[in-house]
């Protein structure tokens, strides 16, 4: 009788974990991925859609095409998890039993949490939002573009900084840079979360004339006045406002009583077990870990969870731990980028932005569909598991 593993969520983490388990255990496991849309989206591409550099159809594929043949896909919405019974209740009335559960439900956007946000600003955290922003930028006559953050935690900490650099380049290409301003409203006292990276990009921002406002956590937007307000008590006027919307954990996590006030799952930073749950693991954006919510985090967590579940199914002690490994790119415009590689033991040492990392990011974007969800990133490649991430 094969062990039953249910994976909630068919994003990068859920897909990879399912494939690795199926590959490792074959007939000894039956894996079911539950996903409400059955479509897998490559979210890092939205930034490029917003700037008119890419089209949305390239960014979405059917989840079925990314899963191994032995993995079942249920295109359903999970509405409740019952840890004691070991079951997951589905919206259309069905129920799934599991021996092990992986909650990889990600993060959702809740723009309604900030008054005036939907009406008064743009975002590139959804495909529709990115397309809307791209249309607005195409007809933008020049003016003050302000980029900010309207809730913490949020996916992809580099994204607002990348947008600032790329939109500044966009304005130059459109010939309206001289009658425009670009200002980054940072929630912190510097441009970026990682101090060493912030020090690296500060002179580049200054060179490009990108302004920086510090300690600006968006609290409200006044669309008619064109004003954005911070909880620290500051107000700024804008002509085009681009905000990272507030994020929240999925409703199923909240309704199951498993989440913290933000809907995030309390998770062990090494084993990735949901606190107090031996048979339930949390993966990717859905956890409450104060680490980057990024695809790379999920990418590196998935093999750990798959390995631990495989051990448990075989009756041996799980050995693999998640060491906090993350690998992110940060575009700085003009065909250059830097990279942020770190883990719990090694802080990042980002290189001076160069063309090589920009090309690496471009290559990663192009190769994603054929490599990442299937676990095909070869050892030794920049995104696989090195011994010291500071190289």
């Amino acid at each position: 009788m094969p062990a039953r593993v249910v994976v909630l969520g068919g994003g990068v983490g859920g897909t990879l974990a399912a494939n690795l388990l199926d590959k490792e255990l074959g007939h000894d496991v039956h894996v079911t991925v539950v996903d409400p849309t059955g479509m897998h989206d490559y979210q890092p591409g939205y930034l490029y859609v917003a700037l008119g550099e890419a089209k949305g159809h390239w960014l979405t594929r059917e989840e079925r095409t990314l899963l191994r043949g032995g993995v079942e896909l249920a295109i359903e919405r999970a509405i409740r998890i019952h840890p004691d019974a070991g079951t997951v209740q589905l919206e259309r009335g069905g129920e799934l039993s599991y021996d092990y559960l992986i909650i990889a439900t990600g993060a959702r956007l809740v723009p309604e949490a900030i008054p005036g946000l939907s009406e008064g600003s743009f975002e590139f955290y959804s495909l529709a939002g990115a397309e809307r922003l791209s249309q607005e930028l195409a007809r933008f006559p020049g003016g003050r573009i302000k980029i900010g953050v309207a809730g913490i935690p949020y996916k992809c900490p580099p994204a607002p900084v990348e947008f600032a650099f790329l939109v500044e380049e966009f304005l130059r290409k459109r010939g309206i840079r001289d009658r425009s301003e670009v200002e980054l409203l940072s929630p912190l006292n510097r441009a970026f979360t990682i101090e060493s990276a912030s020090t690296l990009i500060a002179p580049i921002m200054e060179e490009r004339g990108i302004g920086l406002t510090t300690f600006f956590n968006v609290e409200a937007v006044d669309p008619s006045a064109g004003v954005v307000e911070s909880l620290e008590g500051e107000k700024q006027e804008y002509d085009l406002l681009v905000l990272v919307p507030p994020h929240k954990g999925q409703q199923v996590v909240i309704d199951s009583g498993l989440g913290d006030p933000g809907g995030w799952l309390p998770t062990d930073k090494h084993s990735l077990n949901v606190d107090g749950q031996e048979r339930i693991f949390a993966l990717g954006d859905a956890t409450n870990l104060p680490i980057s919510k990024s695809g790379s985090t999920a990418h590196f967590e998935a093999p750990v969870i798959a390995s631990r579940i495989a051990s448990l199914i075989r009756g041996t002690a799980p050995k693999e731990n998640y060491g906090g490994r993350v690998m992110c790119f940060l575009e700085t415009g003009n065909g250059k980028a830097t990279s942020l590689r770190f883990d719990y033991e090694h802080p990042p040492v980002p290189p001076q932005p160069n063309r090589a990392w920009h090309v690496a990011k471009w290559l990663f974007n192009r190769l994603y569909w054929e490599t990442v969800p299937q676990g095909r990133i070869p050892e030794g490649a920049p995104f696989s598991k090195p011994k010291d991430p500071s190289h």
């Binding site: 913490i152 979360t193 300690f215 933000g262 104060p290 942020l340």
Partner: protein
């Protein structure tokens, strides 16, 4: 991360402070202890006490700076072995 719902702590004057939520951000440079603190403060109630564990040296300037700017209360900074504990009350 450990969700510590009620935790008794001795503060400087010997009175006890109930920690509402604890954030273990040791070894986590991104988004960082301060950013995590801001997020938890935003979803907390006035009067809640939030504790942040940070091994990042920058926190000793980052955290007090934002707490002052956002007009919350820094209750105490406790040195531990290889990290520090910052205890903050949401004041408004």
């Amino acid at each position: 991360m450990q969700e510590i719902v009620v935790k008794q702590e001795q503060n400087l004057q010997g009175a006890t402070v109930d920690v509402t939520r604890s954030i273990d951000a040791r070894g986590m440079p991104c988004p960082g202890p301060l950013m995590s603190l801001i997020g938890v403060i935003r979803e907390s109630q006035v009067g809640d006490v939030i504790e942040v564990l940070s091994s990042d040296e920058g926190s000793r300037s980052d955290i007090p700076a934002w707490v002052q700017k956002a007009r919350h209360e820094l209750i105490e900074v406790v040195p531990e072995d290889g990290y520090a504990r910052f205890v903050i009350r949401k004041a408004r």
